[in-house]
């Protein structure tokens, strides 16, 4: 039934276009993802860390506006700023001074709040190892065709990110969590954005394929906050996320802006720190990756009037130019040949008693035997 629908859509388009749709079918499947997820984490509590909550909520707002539903967003806020008793404007979280933009809104769904935001819960969400009683809204139910956006903000340092002022997650742990996600086929491509001091250290240790990472500052630099609001009394946003929000406000679901533009967000003149990014683990060329591949949930629909035969295997369009080093196509089948490695169990060296021992023991036994079972002793025993 569905395939008919699909086919009819394709066929309608073709009557309109007239180009061989079967060649375009490969491009249709080129990005490889079918669903989008977002994990947005604010790790700091206390009123003076208002800006971290505002950071997270502004990315939440953009992501939701671009189409990712709440069921596919895991929002973790370590503290409640909107209803904090120091908030002069209750039930609001502003991202621009003079209260221009309330990112809290009417329809915020916070999945992990307050003390539930811990390193353990974060890693459990990523790896999927949650207790069976966890509700669906608190789970990252991604599959191998999911593009995931992970946004972290808070206080960090060289190689760690602080959670709740009491514990830390290290860059090694994070890299291992992502490797576990790759092993368990929990993502197709993953975009990791971090807005903390020395944020680039957090993506230094990644080693899994199809990861792209952005950070607000390099190792040794601090990420700075943007503007304080004198009425509320705290800094409202961090610079990097502020300019990121401005950039994202211009994106709409059909825009074709790609990642190279995202890398240019917040240059040093605006951010004071140097944002960094890492694309060496990413399969595709960042220029061909749309912003909406990660920030939005754009459904791929093409209308066509022609019938198309989908029985032939669809070939992926190769994006490599001649002369450029052909990047290895990372698929799940091409992973490290773990099966060969596992068979190399340590060789079971069977322990044998030393020959001298066996010789000595049996000599003694034979001696005793002949001593007692010499003919003259035989009648004493039997």
């Amino acid at each position: 039934m569905k395939i008919h629908h699909f086919l009819s859509l394709f066929s309608t388009y073709f009557l309109v276009d007239g180009v061989n749709i079967e060649d375009r079918a490969g491009q249709f499947f080129s990005s490889g993802h079918t669903n989008n997820w977002a994990v947005l984490v604010c790790t700091s509590r206390f009123w003076f860390n208002y800006r971290h909550v505002a950071n997270t909520l502004s990315v939440y707002r953009s992501v939701k506006r671009l189409g990712i539903p709440d069921s596919h967003i895991v929002l973790m806020l370590a503290d409640d700023m909107a209803c904090n008793h120091r908030n002069p404007k209750p039930a609001t979280v502003f991202s621009h001074k003079n209260m221009e933009l309330n990112v809290y809104g009417d329809d915020v769904e916070v999945d992990y709040r307050g003390y539930e935001v811990t390193v353990e819960n974060f890693l459990r969400i990523l790896t999927g190892r949650l207790p069976p009683s966890t509700p669906r809204s608190k789970r990252l139910l991604s599959d191998d065709r999911s593009n995931i956006l992970i946004y972290l903000t808070g206080h960090g340092g060289n190689g760690f990110l602080k959670f709740q002022d009491s514990e830390e997650i290290s860059n090694v742990e994070l890299a291992d969590a992502f490797e576990q996600m790759w092993q368990k086929r929990r993502y197709n491509e993953l975009l990791f954005i971090i807005d903390t001091c020395q944020g680039a250290s957090m993506y230094e240790r990644f080693y899994s394929p199809n990861l792209m990472a952005l950070a607000s500052s390099q190792v040794g630099e601090d990420s700075l906050s943007h503007q304080p609001d004198l009425a509320i009394g705290v800094h409202l946003m961090d610079r990097y996320t502020f300019y990121l929000l401005e950039f994202l406000e211009d994106i709409h679901p059909a825009s074709k802006t790609n990642m190279n533009d995202l890398f240019k967000v917040c240059p040093k003149s605006q951010c004071v720190s140097t944002p960094g990014h890492r694309t060496d683990l990413f399969l595709r060329d960042p220029g061909s990756v749309l912003i909406t591949d990660f920030f939005g949930s754009v459904r791929k629909v093409e209308l066509t009037m022609e019938t198309i035969n989908l029985t032939d295997p669809i070939e992926q369009l190769e994006s490599a130019e001649s002369g450029e080093l052909q990047k290895e196509m990372h698929t799940y089948a091409d992973q490290l040949p773990v099966s060969e490695i596992i068979h190399q169990k340590p060789k079971q060296k069977d322990w044998h008693p030393p020959d001298g021992f066996i010789l000595g023991l049996w000599t003694l036994i034979l001696l005793v035997f002949f001593q007692t079972y010499g003919v003259k002793h035989l009648k004493h025993i039997f």
Binding site: Q348, W351, G356, I358, L361, L364, T372, H380
Partner: protein
Amino acid sequence: MAAPLTLLLLVAVTVRAALFRSSLSELISERVEVVSPLTAWKRVIEGLALLDLGVSPYSGDVFHETPLTIYLFHFLVDYAEVTFMLADVITAVALYMAVKDYNKQVFRKQKFALEADRYPLDCLELIRSPKEMYYIPLKVAMFYLLNPFTILSCVAKSTCGLNNAIIALFILSTIKGNVLLSAIFLSLATYQSIYPLTLCAPALLYLMQRQYIPVNFRRASFWWFIVQYAFMYLGSLFVIICLSFFLLGSWDYLPSVYGFILSVPDLTPNIGLFWYFFAEMFEHFRLFFLCVFQINVFFYTIPLSIKLKEHPVFLIFMQLAVISIFKSYPTVGDISLYMAFLPVWSHLHRFLRNIFLVSCVLLACSALFPVLWHLWIYAGSANSNFYYAITLLFNVAQILLVSDYFYAFLRREHHLTYGLYLKRKDGSEATLVLK
């Protein structure tokens, strides 16, 4: 008597094989009353696995068997069930042959005493006849093989069965009069667990009496025989210990085996007396109480051997009982060995005073052990005091059993010397009391 014995062996082997195949075998092999840290089969497998991985099995507190046991089980680990059944069979057959020979000697001695008119006339009913003694060896084998304690111990694959086999072979070779074999088996038994050392005294007494050496401190032949026996015993012990060194190339096993037995570091509850005491006491008294408890095992040797110097086989029975009650990690396998001897003294039944009480207490305690263990460990409604109370009661019942038999034996001997109906000086009836 070969046919009934064979039938008995077949029945015993069938029962054990049936239990090995059932699901009870895992349950039984974890019971603390049946296995101890010294004898558990799980630890044997663990030690062999460590050896296969290239690590000394004595590293860590897992494995406490002797190197000869390693050598034995290295080749027999797949046939473990057959090995333990064979050990039980060997024990039973050895006890059978030993008791048969002993009965012959008892009867012969009795005949000489009768001919020498050494018995008062009214105690003729205490004289034993070959007819009543005919089935005793078979009963001994049956008591050993079909004792539920033995069956449990065999199904749990506790190496106590091997120890029992060696002690039974020692008893056989002693009763047959073979000095060398007796010394060798005793040194093997001592090598495995230190306590059979106390069986030296009855073995010496028996062998000397068999060779008609008078048991007199002033005689040179007495000391010469002791020197010979000690030389054979210590020599074979030395040879076995050195051979064990060559198995693994290290002396690791000495603290692991003997240090473990003597210093009792593992306080897992068992049917013995050590665990509760040592769990409760302060550290600076530990050495003192350790010495007290260990000396308690060896202490009864000299007084008992002085009292029972005419009856070394009864002394062996008493010593085995004392060892299995007071050793540091007793199991029910040790108990079954000395209980196998009870038919040998079935003629004492008319002098036994507490046998009903003792048997009731033993049965009740055996039934209550798993109940209170469950209540303590799983249900949480009891505590270690309950379990230790049953342990204490069990040991008290055993001590009462042994002392009852001791009383009955000595009383019979007294009657055989002084007549059955004792009279005080004024002619009224008197009774004998064990003081």
